[in-house]
């Protein structure tokens, strides 16, 4: 039986989770105070994901870098590829907060959106 101790990163409370797999294929999460903790514990065991926040260079002299985020946690193995792509981009303004910058990152179903408006 495999048991792992994790800290839930879904919110600032940071519940201490115990995730067990017994029998193989059946995952049980304890220690969570809400449903998000259960999802996090399960995903962390099977396929860890993280929300990515970063900035993208713009074509403007005033707002030089535009902050962006993924709309949902992205599989960890896709993060470095996304960051490399972002750091090669040059984004034309204007952009509205929430506007999709990259659609369906690497087929993950997760979008990358702007987190501020800039003219």
């Amino acid at each position: 039986m495999a048991a792992r101790s994790l800290v839930c990163i879904s919110c600032p409370i940071g519940c201490r989770l115990t995730v067990t797999e017994d029998p193989p294929g059946t995952i049980t999460v304890t220690g969570n105070q809400c449903a998000r903790g259960e999802v996090y514990g399960r995903e962390e065991m099977l396929a860890p994901k993280r929300v990515v926040t970063a900035t993208v260079l713009t074509d403007s002299g005033e707002v030089r870098r535009l902050p962006v985020k993924t709309t949902a946690p992205l599989p960890k193995e896709l993060i470095n590829g996304l960051l490399s792509a972002l750091y090669r981009m040059r984004l034309p303004l204007p952009v509205r907060c929430g506007q999709v910058i990259l659609h369906d990152v690497e087929g993950s179903g997760v979008d990358l959106v702007a987190t501020r408006s800039a003219e």
Binding site: C8, V51, V52, E62, R64, R65
Partner: protein, 442 residues
């Protein structure tokens, strides 16, 4: 010199200033917001990570998203003027800058525009603003190398974590390639991940305390995800390098003793300091506002008014908050109090508030038993199943069991007129001196 007159002047256009100004303008008063940067939103603009707004907006936002929502709720209001790229040089109190003691202030408000703010900007030169009230909302600033006294040479490459965050996220410069971080506060932890994601190598986070001071989830997602070592009970005892940082010496602390024989060196070109925040009260001090050494911010009465009549304070200039959501709540409330003051309402009787056992501070410093009082408290201890207790003269007004308290997490509670009924019965019999509200954690 240009002259302008307002009902209220808000100094600072960050989360505190915006919330206060929105409330004041929303109730029909004429308000000016003076902001030093080109954009509103303050420090939120550089905090591009998520985790903001869970309490206030009931969803998880990044800093810039939170800022934009605050701006959208504020900017369209009639009666509000923004002065961006404008610095405040000086604030003068009524009667030629000789503030009265506000602690016993029961006089009516000044409606003669008795307060003066001098601002300066490229486009307007010097402007003299007069107003009946001022909201101090200047936020806080970072402690730096001088505050913690790290010995060694003085090379380039030593930054506060927040400055590095600004350089990376706003200006687009990466301040170094090989990084060591001092202090495990949330800004330092967030910057460990940020620097890694922009291609730098973070070689360690050094924390003097035996426990991390940031959120556990940030230890998990900002350090453990990248195998960045966290050196608890360690200090940076020396900075090496002449023109640029070349490395640091790290020394363990055991039983409060420095173990220099066990110290080791980490090579790096950049040292980031995340060693605490202090309310930015230079303007307040020169105005004559009395400051509280426990918070670094002004003493305030039940309406968040400082010792200078008509001058209010909210947000991180009052005390450093851990969540922006609380800043918004406090500042909105402050804006409402400013409106009551401008309307000429009579100041209700107020009693003193004192920090009891295991409490670093409780704010505000006075309470008004006839009204709803919202308190913010910071503990001195880490404790599970702690008992929060509020008493007046031995009578208990509130007892609440808290699952967990620690110094880095603010505790909040409310006492309304109901709670004071009975407990305050002695006031009528000349017992006002006994009306001190004491708050403790046991």
């Amino acid at each position: 010199m240009k002259k302008r007159s307002y009902d209220s002047i808000v100094i600072g256009g960050g989360s505190a200033g915006l919330a206060a100004a929105a409330e004041i303008a929303g109730r029909g008063y004429h308000v000016a917001v003076i902001e030093r940067e080109l954009t509103l939103g303050g420090i939120l603009n550089q905090c591009i990570h998520n985790g903001f707004g869970l309490h206030y907006f009931k969803e998880e936002l990044t800093g810039p998203e939170y800022a934009e929502r605050m701006i959208d709720m504020t900017a369209h209001l009639p009666g509000i003027d923004f002065f961006l790229d404008s610095a405040v040089l000086e604030v003068k109190g009524p009667r030629g800058g000789e503030p009265r003691s506000g602690a016993e202030n029961a006089e009516g408000p000044l409606h003669n525009g008795g307060l003066v703010v001098y601002g300066i900007s490229k486009h307007e030169g010097i402007t003299e603003f007069t107003a009946s009230s001022i909201v101090l909302a200047m936020g806080c600033r970072e402690r730096n190398r001088g505050n913690i006294g790290i010995p060694g040479t003085r090379p380039a490459g030593v930054f506060t974590a927040g400055l590095a965050q600004r350089l990376v996220n706003i200006d687009g410069y990466v301040p170094g390639k090989d990084v060591v971080i001092v202090g495990s506060g949330d800004i330092g932890l967030i910057m460990a991940r940020r620097m890694t994601w922009v291609g730098a190598r973070v070689h360690g986070v050094v924390e003097i305390q035996p426990y991390p001071s940031g959120l556990t989830r940030n230890i998990a997602q900002c350090l453990n995800d990248f195998n960045i070592p966290l050196y608890l009970s360690h200090v940076v005892s020396e900075i090496h390098g002449s023109r640029r940082v070349e490395g640091v010496t790290i020394m363990p602390i055991e039983d409060r003793h420095e173990q220099s024989a066990k110290s080791f060196r980490l090579d790096c070109d950049t040292l980031l300091l995340s060693v605490g925040l202090v309310p930015d009260n230079e303007l307040s001090r020169r105005l004559g506002v009395v400051l509280n050494p426990e918070t670094g911010g002004p003493y305030v009465d039940a309406s968040l008014m400082t010792s200078v009549p008509g001058v209010f304070a909210c947000g991180n200039v009052l005390h450093v908050h851990d969540l922006v959501d609380w800043v918004t709540e406090e500042s909105t409330r402050c804006g409402g109090n400013v409106c009551d003051y401008l309307a000429g309402g009579k100041t209700p009787w107020q009693g003193a508030v004192a920090a009891g056992a295991n409490v670093k501070y409780v704010l505000p410093n006075r309470y008004a038993p006839s009204r709803k009082n919202v308190f913010y408290l910071r503990t001195l201890v880490v404790k599970n199943r702690a008992l929060l207790r509020a008493t007046i003269g031995g009578r208990t007004l509130l007892e609440r069991r808290l699952p967990h308290v620690q110094p880095s997490e603010m505790v909040t509670f409310t006492l309304g007129p109901d709670a004071f009924n009975g407990a305050h019965g002695t006031a009528g019999q000349g017992g006002l001196a006994d009306g001190r509200l004491e708050v403790s954690i046991e």
